[in-house]
């Protein structure tokens, strides 16, 4: 068995195992680490396929940027908000397994029975060496055949950044008083499983006591209930009570 085949099998095995680890890990941080391992191995695969530039991009962009971003977000998200691992919907779980198996069979059959239709191109290893290597060759393709797509991609990235800023920017007013005028009603199950007046759904209006002290910065977590833009209130849930209730329902979520 040639060396390259042996190396391929090693890399492939590691990456598949790492991928399984991503899916199976209880703790999202573990998932992220597994994903890093998987992506590094995929970079190795790219090297084997003669795509050195892509391998570097894979390492820098995926493992270096995206996954670090994921880890940042993981830190931003309160662990209490994370769902439990074991609480998955059974239907999804069984159907997911069946679909995965069927798809694997189908794709396997497709790969085995496939016929090569595309003609051979000019980018033979000899030609690529002639222009100075993989990076130069890819650069020439990108800036000639795919110039327009390349420019469009820059636009897409700009828009993506703007969108991310717009979405993630904290609403200053809302952050300060805990309520934002005109907020969409997000009557969340966790918000409503506490004892609430009948008002939030709009059946009876909630009377706001004007003398009631405003919630301040370090106020406990609160559920925002807005039935219409002009009438809004915050119900300050008892943090300990709601936390206890959540722990009852979510079980081992903190262990994830």
């Amino acid at each position: 068995m040639p060396w390259d085949v042996i190396i391929f099998y090693i890399i492939a095995t590691v990456s598949v195992l790492a991928a399984l680890g991503v899916v199976a890990a209880r703790n999202p941080v573990h998932s992220a680490v597994m994903l890093v391992i998987c992506f590094l191995n995929v970079a190795g695969i790219f090297v084997m396929l003669g795509a050195e530039f892509l391998a570097i991009v894979q390492v820098i962009v995926y493992t270096g940027a995206i996954l670090v971003l994921v880890l940042f977000v993981l830190m931003l998200v309160d662990p209490e908000d994370l769902p439990s691992f074991s609480d998955s919907q059974p239907l999804q779980r069984y159907l997911g397994a069946i679909i995965g198996a069927v798809l694997l069979l189908e794709v396997g059959a497709a790969i085995i029975t496939r016929t090569q239709l595309a003609p051979q191109g000019q980018a033979t290893p000899a030609n690529i060496d002639a222009v100075g290597g993989n990076t130069q060759a890819v650069g020439q393709v990108l800036f000639s055949d795919y110039l327009l797509a390349f420019e469009v991609i820059s636009l897409v990235l700009t828009v993506g950044i703007l969108g991310a800023i717009a979405l993630a920017m904290p609403e200053r007013l809302g952050e300060r008083i805990g309520v934002r005028r005109g907020t969409i009603s997000l009557s969340h199950t966790r918000g409503t499983d506490e004892a609430l007046p009948a008002g939030p759904r709009g059946e009876t209006p909630i009377h706001i006591d004007p003398d009631r002290p405003r919630p301040h910065e370090d106020a406990p977590r609160r559920v925002i209930l807005v039935t219409d833009p002009d009438e809004r209130t915050t119900l300050e849930g008892d943090r300990r009570q709601s936390t206890a209730a959540r722990q009852r329902t979510t079980g081992t979520s903190n262990n994830e």
Binding site: Q92, L103, E106, A110, T113
Partner: protein, 641 residues
């Protein structure tokens, strides 16, 4: 003068635009200061054009713009003035201007004053364009436009239900006629390939030489009859006359201008304009003559029994229009236009006189509640008397000359219906004198039959009196333009417009004979009215009881309204109800609603698929992907080969 023709219709149009746009906010009760000068200026231009046409003896025209340039089918909007148009222009603008003046007094204080003085110039504009048109399509457009103005003005008091209904009736009955006219226009285009009147390939040139051009005479007959159906609607000829008496719901100046002097003569004008087609078809002429003669007689009999002062005059109008129509039908073209002109003046005068009486009597229209008004309103009385004498056809007032000429023209015509028409005309002339003087005696003579304690009739103000006097003058004198009979200046002037008509030379004996007969007939009618209503020698009530059946028949206007209601309106109504209740609600709406209900029911079930859970959507996508790859494997791969 050609270059100034456009001013004639433009000035009234400007008055309309100014008053309708600015009337409500700015002009309000001063609207007449916009309309009067502009319509007056238009009259002056028309007078200049008339003199120009009289001197040069040539038709003049002005090209305004090309309306429809569609390949071979070109419709130009041209203003065309020949002798016939020149007469019509003067008649329309003279009566129109005087009615404007009269309206200032009559409509004074009405909340819709500006509106009235917007519609009136709009009507004058449309009527002028109608007579100035040099092709059938433009004529048709403004034919509809005058109908629209008539609708506006009949329904001027739109808060009154009867006025609204009368306006609708006038509009709908006219639609029947306009359908005929529209078909006539289409058939004309189909037959001649053009709708222009004049020019080398114009309708008239082709109609005159239709035999050489291979155009069937039957087509000309059909065109003539179809166009006359339109004329029936507009000129209130049997069987489409029913709208005109109801149109008296409009303000009296409107009745005078539109429903007596000008618009209703549009049908007569249109037939006269197309005389080239009619003289080629004896059948079409015959239809026109019979309808006209019947209308003249029928309307006169109805007028005998009506008690509403305006309705009597309205039926008189229908009757006189019938005269014009049978004059057209018997080939007395010039006589018809002559009568059109004299009638416009004296009938306008009569209507304005009616308005003055109604105004003075505080909106009372029933003649039975009048009487002895002579001493209360002398100006109205004398002018009304002149109008009545002219209408009755008494020497030497305007109506005598024109009516006499129509009867003579019918008598000597080549048409086989000529002599019966002349006799019917004489009978109608007798009735005319009778009903006109019944009206005069009932209104102005005898004892006051109203409550003198509370009602104090008064003479109308100068705004209303002056037009009455100004219209009385031509009512007396205008007949002399047709003197001597068949050979007056009027005939020489109009001769150019009716070139193709053979001129009959009437012997002096015939002229004198008929002049004496019609005078005797008219005086006889007046005498009987005098006997019945002044002298008391004949008791009208006794006559009425003696002929109760006939009286009821006439009083109910020959039951035309009831007949139409039973044969047309009610079946149509039932059919519409069927379409509404069964077809529309039962089938169309039910189908639409059923589809909507069905979709709503299905959606109600299917909406549960939308769980709102992202995981379910992802699952659906995954299943779809599996199916897609499966389809690929089954259909396109070598797996099962």
């Amino acid at each position: 003068m050609e270059d100034l023709l456009y001013l004639i219709p433009l000035l009234p149009l400007a008055a309309f635009v100014i008053n309708i746009l600015l009337g409500r906010g700015f002009i309000r009760d001063n609207a007449h200061w916009v309309a009067l000068p502009l319509v007056g200026a238009s009259w002056i231009v028309a007078l200049l054009v008339f003199l120009d046409v009289r001197d040069t003896e040539h038709a003049i025209s002005q090209h305004l713009f090309t309306w429809i340039p569609a390949g071979d089918f070109v419709v130009d909007v041209n203003l065309y003035v020949d002798q016939l148009t020149a007469i019509m222009l003067l008649v329309v603008l003279t009566v129109g201007f005087l009615v404007h003046v009269y309206s200032v007094g009559y409509m004074h204080g009405d909340p819709g004053f500006y509106r009235f003085f917007a519609y009136l110039p709009l009507f004058v504009f449309s009527m002028l364009m109608l007579v100035l048109a040099d092709n059938l399509l433009v004529l048709f457009v403004f034919w509809e436009a005058v109908g629209l103005c008539s609708y506006f003005l009949i329904g001027y008091y739109f808060r009154r239900r009867s006025a609204g209904n009368a306006a609708k009736k006038a509009f709908i009955v006219n639609r029947v006629g306009d359908l005929g006219f529209g078909l006539g226009v289409m058939l004309t285009f189909w037959t001649f390939g053009t709708i222009s009147f004049y020019g080398e390939h114009g309708i008239f040139e082709q109609a005159a030489h239709h035999a050489e051009l291979g155009i069937a005479g039957g087509a000309l007959t059909a065109i003539g009859i179809l166009l006359f159906i339109g004329a029936c609607g507009k000129s209130a000829q049997f069987p489409l006359h029913v709208w005109l008496p109801d149109a008296m719901e409009g303000p009296t100046p409107v009745s005078a201008l539109i429903h007596a002097a000008t618009m209703v003569t549009a049908g007569i004008y249109m037939v006269a304009r197309n005389y080239t087609i009619y003289i080629q078809s004896e059948s079409a002429m015959m239809v026109v003559a019979i309808v006209g003669a019947f209308t003249a007689f029928m309307a006169a009999t109805i007028a005998l029994t009506q008690n509403d002062i305006k309705r009597v005059v309205a039926y008189s109008t229908v009757s006189q229009l019938g005269y014009m129509a049978f004059a057209l039908g018997t080939g007395a073209w010039v006589a018809a236009i002559f009568h059109l002109m004299t009638h416009a003046f004296f009938k306008g005068l009569l209507f304005l006189g009616c308005g003055s009486v109604i105004h003075g009597m505080h909106e009372e229209q029933d003649m039975r509640k009048m009487g002895g008004l002579r001493k209360y309103m002398p100006v109205t009385f004398w002018t009304f008397l002149i109008g009545s004498l002219a209408n009755a056809g008494v020497v030497p007032l305007a109506g005598f000359w024109s009516k006499d000429e129509i009867i003579v023209g019918a008598w000597i015509s080549d048409s086989s219906f000529g002599k019966p028409a002349a006799i019917i005309g004489l009978a109608a002339a007798f009735l005319t004198a009778l009903y006109m003087f019944r009206l005069v005696f009932l209104v102005f003579f005898g004892k006051e039959r109203f409550d003198t304690e509370h009602i104090h009739p008064h003479e109308s103000g100068a705004w209303m009196a002056i037009p009455l006097v100004l219209l009385a003058i031509p009512s007396v004198l205008i007949g002399f333009v047709g003197f001597p009979p068949e050979d007056g200046p009027f005939h020489h002037f109009l001769h150019h417009a009716f070139e193709l008509v053979e001129v009959h030379h009437v012997s002096m004996t015939t002229t004198w004979t008929f002049g004496i007969i019609s005078t005797v007939v008219a005086l006889g009618g007046i005498f009987i009215a005098w006997l019945a209503y002044i002298r008391g020698a004949i008791n009208p009530a006794a006559v009425r009881e003696r002929f109760e059946g006939t009286y009821q028949f006439l009083y109910n206007k020959w039951y035309f309204d009831e007949l139409y209601d039973a044969t047309i309106v009610q079946p149509l109504r039932r059919f519409s109800m069927f379409l509404w209740k069964v077809v529309d609600e039962g089938i169309i709406d039910a189908a639409v609603n059923g589809v909507a209900t069905g979709i709503a029911a299905i959606s109600q079930r299917v909406r549960h698929v939308q769980t709102g859970l992202v995981a379910n959507y992802a699952l659906a996508i995954a299943i779809g992907m599996v199916l897609l790859v499966g389809v690929y494997l089954a259909a396109f791969s070598d797996l099962f080969q």
